[in-house]
């Protein structure tokens, strides 16, 4: 309940007047001689109980009368359930068309159920309302009621995951900024628990969040990711199919590789065995399938991992890309250090490299090979000489003074993250803008540690345990492998992005330097709906958020502003109270 004139409620203090008057009237009454006091006493004894009740009733009636008048003056607005027009309302409809909305439940797509509820909400809007539609891309779409309705009708399951917590916050901020009476956010989503994992939304007061209660969440498994390395594809699965006893069933996985006329050729099959239960309740399984890399020609290859169809088709297949290249011809100069020499020997033994001078790893000098990986010199006095050689070869980077120890951070090479660096030179210079930033492959304390410029790669530390713990780490040999086979070659690697399943290649000039593999977020595969308590807590708290069944959702929508001025009823009540007070006060028996 709200009030048009809340300041009038200060008048409620007047409700104490009857009680105060009662107390103040306890003054000494005038004294009068009256002989038949004995009759008075008898009459009073007989009427004492009635008189006490009468006094109490009068006190209650008078207090209630004042309260009724004061509250009526404050013009209370009481919410109405059902019926009646609502006041102008700003509303955002969040229609969650993320990939999971394409799941088939009880013979129909989840999105269709959400769409029906969205149409119902739109149908109750009036020309005075302001309505926006937010889909899984997070974009707020305004417009006329008809335009929004058309957008709803044309919506199909998308490929982007919708973080409901962030979406609610954005929507709530939007409606809260509108100069209207009502502010509502309608959440039409399958309310996956994974969509609510990013904390709790901050919803301003006065904004109502109405969430359609989720339906049944079917069992589902999907391909969470595909990683190709060492001639094998590791396919990670999410979700599980359970047998009648609740035991996860093995999942057959099919790998198709090839491009052009050979595209779609079945390269391998595997059977993924479900893994252990994870903390989030989701099960993960992985299968490793060998790829016939030796028979593939050098270059970039695209493949696809696929599962048998289930209720959610969007996550049943996922593309992947990898590069087939001949081993690099690499060697190390004597100043490169013993750890580098040992790593190259291992790689050579594994046929990852062959002996040659295409790639040279040096220590303090700049080789004249086509590709060079340069470590700083042992002797600080040689820093200037090497910097000048780098500059003459057109490398914009140079070593500066010794800098602070720290740990490695790299978005390109996950294996480097967290490795300690105790001694390093600060790498300075480089290109400006995005190009320069793109050449920084790893940092320490925010400063470049591994940079690339053309065919030259610079390291901030020597690959020696006196400088960094990297040579003693398990990922050292793979790191050196990546250095000589990919990084120094200018290859950017394969990255993953959210979107419709496909592969995009990155090029530099005529060279393909990397690829981006698009696919749905792995969290979309977990169709388990969140509990009502979790939804309420994550979407603004129980004071603002309601999780409602379809019927109640339809009834509650825009009901926050269906209010009626109750002052008339209160005035009527006051009149009734006044009449009752008059009747009781004048009644002598």
């Amino acid at each position: 309940m709200s009030f048009l004139h809340p300041l009038a409620l200060l008048g409620l203090a007047a409700a104490a007047i009857p009680a105060l008057l009662h107390l103040l009237q306890r003054r000494i009454p005038p004294q009068v001689d009256f002989p038949p006091v004995r009759y008075l006493s008898a009459a009073e004894r007989e009427s004492a109980r009635r008189l006490k009740l009468r006094h109490l009733l009068l006190l209650i009636l008078r207090t209630a009368l004042i309260v009724a008048i004061v509250v009526a003056a404050a013009r209370p607005l009481v919410p109405l359930r059902g019926g009646g027009a609502h006041q102008p309302t700003a509303a955002v409809l969040i229609l969650d068309n993320s990939p999971s909305s394409g799941a088939i439940v009880d013979g129909a797509a989840v999105l269709e159920r959400l769409r029906v509820a969205a149409r119902s909400s739109i149908a109750r809007t009036t020309s005075a309302d302001r309505v926006w539609l937010m889909l899984c891309d997070g974009v707020l779409r305004g417009g006329s009621r008809e335009a929004v309705l058309a957008t709803i009708d044309s919506t199909r399951p998308g490929w982007l995951r919708l973080d409901l917590v962030q979406a609610i916050e954005r929507a709530a901020r939007m409606v809260n900024a509108q100069p209207v009476v009502g502010r509502e956010v309608h959440v039409l989503s399958d309310l996956q628990r994974t969509a609510l994992a990013s904390g709790q939304a901050v919803v301003p007061g006065g904004v109502r969040v109405l969430a359609l209660a989720p339906g049944r969440g079917p069992s589902n498994r999907g391909i969470a990711g595909v990683t190709v390395s060492e001639g094998a594809a590791v396919i990670e699965l999410s979700g599980a199919m359970l047998d009648s006893g609740g035991t996860p069933l093995p999942v057959p996985v099919t790998i198709r590789i090839g491009a052009g006329p050979n595209r779609g050729e079945i390269a391998a099959r595997g059977l993924a065995t479900p893994g252990r239960e994870r903390s989030g309740g989701a099960t993960r399984a992985a299968v490793t399938v060998s790829l016939p890399a030796q028979s593939l020609a050098p270059g970039w290859w695209v493949g696809e991992a696929a599962l048998e169809p289930d209720e959610l088709r969007a996550d049943d297949h996922r593309p992947f890309a990898w590069r087939v290249a001949p081993p690099a011809r690499a060697m190390a100069t004597p100043r490169a250090g013993s750890f580098v020499a040992a790593a190259l020997a291992v790689l050579q033994a594994g046929r990852h490299i062959i002996d040659g001078r295409d790639v040279v790893i040096s220590g303090g000098d700049l080789p004249s090979s086509p590709h060079a990986i340069v470590q700083p010199p042992d002797d600080p006095a040689l820093i200037g000489q090497v910097n000048r050689a780098l500059a003459s070869r057109g490398v914009p980077w140079r070593w500066g003074p010794l800098s602070t120890p720290g740990v490695l951070t790299s978005s390109e090479r996950a294996g480097l993250n967290g490795v300690a660096v105790v001694r390093r030179y600060r790498i300075e210079g480089g290109g400006s803008g995005e190009a320069g930033a793109g050449d920084v492959l790893a940092t320490v304390n925010g400063e470049p540690w591994l940079v690339r410029s053309g065919s030259v790669v610079l390291l901030g530390s020597r690959l020696d345990t006196a400088w960094t713990a990297l040579p003693a780490a398990p990922g050292f040999v793979p790191f050196v492998d990546a250095l000589v086979n990919r990084i120094v070659m200018g290859e950017a690697g394969v990255s993953v992005a959210e979107g419709a399943p496909h592969v995009e290649f990155r090029t530099r000039g005529t060279d393909t330097t990397g690829a981006t593999v698009f696919g749905p977020d792995a969290r979309e595969s977990d169709l388990t709906p969140a509990t009502t308590a979790l939804v309420t807590a994550a979407l603004g708290g129980k004071d603002r958020t309601s999780v409602l069944s379809a019927d109640r959702f339809a009834a509650e929508g825009f009901s926050g502003t269906r209010r009626a001025d109750a002052s008339g009823i209160l005035v009527l009540l006051a009149l009734v109270l006044a009449a009752a007070e008059l009747g009781v006060a004048t009644r002598t028996r």
């Binding site: 009454p29 006091v37 002598t588």
Partner: protein, 292 residues
Amino acid sequence: MVQRLDLLDPAEVARLGGIEIVAEGVVEGFLAGMHRSPFRGFSVEFTEHRAYQAGDELKYLDWRMLGRSDRLFVKQFEEETNLRSMVLVDASRSMAWQGSPERLTKRAYADRLAAALALILLRQRDATGLVTFDEQVRQLIPARVKAGQWTRIVRGLLDTPDGQGTAAHAALQRLTALLARRGMVVLISDLLFDRELALAALRYLRHRGHQVVVFHLMDPAEIELSGPPEVRFKDPESAVSVVVRPRELARAYADTVRREIAAWRKACRRHGIAYHHVQTNMPFGLALRLLT
């Protein structure tokens, strides 16, 4: 035009003069209206017959004589001179109260009523006396019929001051010892004392053969409660007080008074005592007529 004082407002009549003047005026008017002694029949004895004349009341016709001789005779009565009457006037403090300055106090009304009653009785040559009392007997004038008795009674009324409490029981008990011969006892009081004790004494008088008459005197303001919104009513005799809101209690109080009057009336009737409720705004003639 000559006005009958017995039918005028008591307060207006009282303004004409003292008790004697008022009582005489009331009695004159009262007797003129009655044509005959109002108390004939209980205070007179049969003496002889005489021939019926037109205008004689038929109730005095001797039907037995008519049956024997077929002649109309009426009975002649001789006034009795040895009837003894005692008028008891309550002089307690409660009697000195008036509900309005426009009315007489209960005591003033009682004095004038007693004086008039005594005058009538003396004119009938009945021996009449007076007792005034509150907690004790204040004045005792034995019943006599000699000249100057009425003046003594009036003087006795005037010499009795307003008293304190009321002890009718004690006064009535003492009176029983003084009334050796059968007679009439008239009690004029507001009856604000213990009903059972007073009735015990009155019953005793009745048992001794006395004719007992009770005038229950009340001010109209004692019947209908009124006053300011809240007031402390104090009993002038006992100092007992009670705080009430008259408007709230009026109905219950009126019911209580009605029940009290009914209780007195019922108790008196049960014991052969004549009970009359008189308000101080009732003309004296009407009050006296209650006795006939």
